[in-house]
């Protein structure tokens, strides 16, 4: 069973090729998006994306290409989702770490891992059949910024809870011992010692969740109402960037299509910037979460 070093070289070249292909894939995606978006990025057209007031790309008479209301919707939905998920995820993680016995925490971790795998389309479906009617009851039409924020918040909750739990677990034992030795109570230890020490890990988890929320499509498209205007309250329908792509790609042509590629390009750059910035920070607590 002795192979010559020549086999080694062949194997090395083949594997190197595979690695190059895998690593270069993201570049390929970027290039194709860019090529698709190019017609819309020509110097004369670009300002329209930001000056047009609304989104009516198919109209023959007065086409409008305002991307801003949709970007605003993406940001609002993501912010609302984070505002719901972050406090819940962190508080829950604190409770499991410091108030409950160890085996509860393990069981909870298992549950969260399973929940993190629930398909987004299932969340969207639940939102459409249960949450939207409930919100409609409260304040019509139901399909709204609020519905999208809640569904998306639930989707990213497991991510935030898992990373927060890991970050709290990584607080050095000797810090907790020092706190105990000084007679600090449990609540004080949590607020003044454990949470500050876990700050960067928890922050990384939240950023990761935000990156995921901005790019999420299916959970949002089904409950957000899909009207491309600035909302005046949380009960108004909105239309984030991802929804627009999902709804219009099927029939878009020519310049309309180029605009959708531009939207995709913007999405990709935003999430890449978030994740890239995360992995450049020194400690990297992100890996366990994905």
């Amino acid at each position: 069973m002795c192979r010559s070093p020549r086999t080694d070289r062949v194997v090395q070249v083949v594997l190197g090729g595979l690695a190059l292909l895998a690593g270069g894939l993201v570049l390929l995606i970027f290039v194709f998006l860019f090529l698709g978006a190019w017609p819309a990025l020509e110097p004369g057209r670009l300002p329209n994306l930001f000056t047009d007031e609304t989104w009516r790309p198919g109209s023959q008479r007065d086409p409008q290409f305002g991307l801003l209301p949709m970007l605003a919707a993406s940001v609002l939905v993501t912010a609302l989702a984070t505002a719901i998920a972050a406090p819940m995820g962190i508080a829950g993680a604190v409770f499991h770490r410091f108030y409950l016995p160890d085996r509860w925490e393990k069981a909870n971790h298992r549950l969260l891992e399973l929940l993190a795998g629930v398909p987004s389309v299932v969340f969207g479906f639940w939102g459409l059949t249960v949450l939207v009617p409930a919100i409609n009851h409260l304040h019509p039409p139901g399909q709204s910024l609020l519905a999208a924020g809640i569904v998306l918040g639930l989707m990213i909750l497991p991510t935030i809870a898992i990373t927060s739990q890991a970050a709290l677990r990584a607080v050095p034992e000797n810090q907790l011992l020092a706190a105990a030795g000084l007679g600090l109570g449990r609540a004080r230890t949590i607020l003044s010692i454990a949470l500050p020490a876990a700050k960067s890990g928890i922050g990384a988890g939240i950023l990761l969740a935000i990156a995921r929320a901005i790019g999420e499509t299916m959970a949002v498209v089904m409950v957000c109402g899909n009207i491309a205007e600035y909302p005046s309250s949380v009960f108004d329908p909105v239309r984030p960037v991802t929804s627009t792509i999902a709804l219009e790609m099927g029939y878009a042509t020519a310049s309309h299509k180029a605009l959708l590629y531009t939207a995709g390009l913007v999405l990709m750059l935003v999430t890449a910037a978030l994740v890239g910035w995360l992995s450049f920070r020194k400690p990297n607590p992100v890996e366990s979460a994905t």
Partner: protein, 257 residues
């Protein structure tokens, strides 16, 4: 003897699950003196020390039996004892320096505020305690910088100052110098020795020379029948000169351990 002992331990046993770490230890710790606990690794010294301010509570499955009394009136091992208030009276300095990874000032503020000290008094306390450990001149202009920027020896002195800030009756030291380089170790040791007469010091050390230099009282721990216990105790000079237990004698003379 009874009137001058700060802490009196009698019949103390500590078990972790099935493992008995300390069995039937009795010891009187005199007020204002430095008591050193010595002995080979794994003989229950640290466990004993942790039992004195109930840090053993933190270990799941740890059972403490027997009696530890503070000033003859507070039964430390009683379940009704306010543990957090107790730890204010009995401070602890650990083997590895463990300042909180926050500013030097916050390292004092967090425990002082928790124990209800008025915000206005805190700057004076910080200065007094940092002077006590000789850190004031070194750090007075950077109290708001991270405590982790200090060297190992400075960090350990900060931990001592932080313990002093709560105005404890007793401070427990768990091998406070063993994680430091010799020079820093010497400085820390000098500051511990300077506490004599002001607070009661209980120090666990592996370093017999150090015990000889600073201890007033000495207790030698040894493993007997699978559990740690005290085999020799008394004034340091006398115990070093003429120990009665054969194991302790060989250990103190440097032959074993």
């Amino acid at each position: 003897m009874k009137s001058t002992s700060r802490i009196s331990v009698s019949g103390l046993s500590v078990r972790y699950g099935a493992h008995e770490a300390v069995r039937d230890v009795s010891l009187a710790i005199p007020d204002g003196k430095i008591s050193a606990l010595v002995g080979p690794s794994g003989c229950g010294k640290s466990t004993f020390l942790h039992a004195l301010n109930r840090l053993t509570d933190l270990v799941p499955g740890c059972v403490v039996e027997g009696s530890i009394r503070l000033d003859d009136d507070l039964e430390i091992t009683a379940p009704t004892t306010d543990v957090l208030a107790l730890r204010r009276h009995i401070g602890m300095v650990f083997q590895k320096p463990n300042p909180f990874p926050q500013s030097i000032r916050r390292n004092f503020e967090i425990p002082l505020r928790e124990h209800g000290v008025d915000r206005k008094e805190i700057p004076a306390i910080i200065e007094r305690c940092l002077r006590d450990v000789g850190l004031w001149d070194e750090v007075s202009d950077r109290l708001d910088r991270s405590a982790l920027q200090l060297s190992g020896g400075q960090q350990q002195r900060l931990c001592i100052a932080r313990a002093l800030a709560l105005d404890p009756k007793v401070i427990l030291f768990d091998e406070p110098c063993s994680a430091l380089d010799p020079l820093a170790s010497g400085v820390v040791e000098d500051h511990i020795a300077a506490l004599r007469g002001r607070v009661t010091v209980v120090i666990v050390t592996h370093n017999l020379a150090q015990a000889r230099r600073i201890a007033d009282e000495l207790a030698v721990f040894w493993v007997r029948d699978g559990a740690g216990t005290i085999v020799e105790t008394g004034p340091a000079s006398k115990t070093f000169e003429s120990p009665t237990d054969p194991d302790a004698a060989r250990y103190l003379s440097g032959e074993r351990g």
